[in-house]
């Protein structure tokens, strides 16, 4: 016999069970979130492989869902700002955006070197093949870059632009075989931070610069040290 009290009891039980299920699934959802890593060097981040299965296949027998941390690629801050040398009537010095000047000037699409400019950018060292300035800079919007097909690209996404010519480097980069990195090899234990193209290569003159050798071990095979008579290799010289 269906009685109203029975019905109410059944409905309440179903409701309680449902609520428990919702709470449990919410918790599980939180656990499944990729942890956000503290980026050590820059405020901006970009995830390359947000949930790549990089856990070792042998070790993953116990848990089917291995947490993975992101590979964070540093990004440039944004469009460059030009520092002004003078002061305005209020005594303020300032920075201006590229577009401050370039929105009111006619772009010269032919120009390739700073030498052929009559104003501004004259000290710039450019040694990047035979590219014209507007091969990479965007004549329509000087606060952005452009791809070969004219698509606008933000300065932050400069790697997209470099990669259209430097494909093998981009492929190697994607496999950790080009460019410096920090952090973890094992993404189940922590994130990895990688440089972007312009961290190491000046975009106008991209050849990697020469460096000076700093630190040198004093290898005992190289030269005997003048003060080197402690052949017992000891702190004390008492029974010498």
């Amino acid at each position: 016999m269906l009685r109203p009290t029975n019905l109410i009891f059944a409905a309440t039980s179903i409701l309680v069970v449902f609520m428990i299920a919702v709470v449990v699934s919410k918790r599980a959802g939180q656990d499944g979130l990729a942890p956000v890593a503290e980026d050590i060097r820059s405020g901006t981040r970009q995830e390359l492989r947000p949930a790549a299965d990089t856990g070792s296949s042998k070790a993953s027998t116990t848990s089917a869902t291995t947490r993975t941390h992101p590979v964070i690629i540093r990004q440039p801050d944004g469009p460059p700002r030009v520092k002004l040398t003078g002061f305005d009537p209020q005594g303020r010095s300032g920075e201006v955006a590229c577009s401050t000047c370039h929105s009111v000037r006619q772009p010269n699409l032919e120009n390739k070197t700073p030498e052929t400019l009559d104003e501004f950018h004259q000290g710039l060292v450019v040694n990047h093949g035979k590219l014209a300035c507007y091969a990479c800079h965007n004549p329509e919007d000087s606060d952005s870059l452009k791809l070969a097909d004219g698509t606008k690209v933000a300065y932050q996404d400069v790697m997209t632009m470099c990669s259209q010519c430097h494909g093998p480097q981009a492929t190697a980069f994607a496999h950790g075989a080009h460019g410096g990195m920090n952090g973890h090899w094992d993404l189940t234990r922590g994130p990895q931070m990688k440089n972007n193209c312009v961290d190491c290569h000046d975009p106008h003159s991209p050849a990697y610069p020469k460096m000076m050798v700093g630190f040198k071990p004093k290898d005992r095979f190289n030269a005997p040290r003048a003060d080197h008579h402690d052949h017992e290799g000891a702190e004390s010289h008492d029974d010498h």
């Binding site: 922590g190 190491c200 460096m211 190289n222 000891a234």
Partner: protein, 313 residues
């Protein structure tokens, strides 16, 4: 940190009952006492500097967890006493399913030596001698014979007619250094890292002579490290400060890599020439390099089977 126990594989049954006392006695019987004393004088010094507890310690592989804890506590106290540094010495064990492999892109390496310096700092090397586990060899173009290079180059790099070959322990799969150790103070672990128990090493330097890559270093003197420069993040089998009279070598920074981190020399490399990872993971960077680049190993003809690869782009 994982603490899986290592099943000990007997490698070379030279001294079955491998106690240090037996080795020392055996050596006395073979050599004239005078010659022996001269040969092991660094060890004599070491023995004078080591405590009775240290001398009684058993082999690393035979220590129970409690004994290990005691040993580590003693070593931490010694670091405080001798170096005035508060250090933590962990017992990092291999991660199951991991075999570490290193690769260096020789087209990119410019010989600047930042890796050498990073290893020096990370591993608490002697400050006075600028000791490091890495040597960068300036090589004439056209050969991979490391004996033809020089380590004493200076100035601006890279030089036009040269390439640069960083050499450190290759963590050989057939390590001659392990075979020659008369007391089993050095052995290969499951993740491929060849380790040294500095408290078991008798300082005979056979391993140093056996290594074709000149990868082993002997502590001729007590390492000097100022208290504020000591890296306190240490492991028993890697960068804890080594005593005088023992041999040491690159451990692929196991106190970092067994915790999932990259080695110190890789992080320091400004050119991005270094690649490190787990060769058992088919998706790893290192596997991509082995599958897509022409890779070389050093002194292949010796059959040491290095876990260290070089490649050109």
């Amino acid at each position: 940190m994982t603490t899986t126990e290592t099943p000990q594989k007997p490698s070379l049954p030279i001294v079955e009952n491998f106690t240090r006392r037996a080795a020392v006695k055996g050596a006395f019987a073979t050599l004239g006492a005078g010659a022996f004393v001269a040969a092991i004088s660094p060890l004599r010094q070491a023995a004078r500097n080591s405590s009775a507890a240290e001398f009684m310690q058993t082999h690393y592989s035979e220590l129970s967890p409690e004994q290990k804890a005691d040993v580590i506590a003693r070593l931490e106290a010694e670091a405080k006493e001798k170096y005035d540094a508060d250090v933590t010495i962990a017992d990092d064990r291999p991660i199951p399913g991991t075999k570490f492999v290193y690769a260096i892109n020789l087209s990119v390496c410019n010989g600047n030596g930042k890796c050498v310096e990073a290893c020096h700092k990370e591993n608490n090397h002697d400050r006075d001698t600028n000791q490091s586990y890495i040597r960068v060899i300036e090589m004439p173009k056209g050969t991979m014979d490391m004996e033809k290079g020089s380590t004493t180059y200076t100035g601006a790099v890279p030089k036009d007619d040269k390439f640069y070959l960083p050499v450190q322990c290759q963590q050989c799969d057939e390590p001659p250094c392990v075979d020659v150790c008369p007391v089993k103070a050095t052995w290969k672990e499951e993740d491929g890292i060849v380790v040294v128990d500095y408290n078991w090493c008798i300082g005979c330097r056979y391993c140093e002579a056996a290594c074709p890559y000149h990868a082993r270093r002997f502590n001729w003197k007590k390492p000097e490290v100022p208290a504020k420069e000591v890296n306190p993040d240490q492991s028993y089998l890697s960068n804890r400060i080594r005593p005088v009279g023992v041999v040491e070598k690159c451990t692929y920074c196991l106190h970092r890599t067994r915790r999932g981190k990259l080695p110190a020399c890789l992080e320091a490399c400004p050119t991005g020439a270094r690649v490190f990872g787990n060769i058992l993971d088919p998706k790893s960077n290192i596997r991509w390099i082995l599958e897509n680049k022409r890779v070389y190993i050093l002194k292949e003809e010796l059959g040491t089977k290095p876990a260290f690869f070089y490649y050109f782009d």
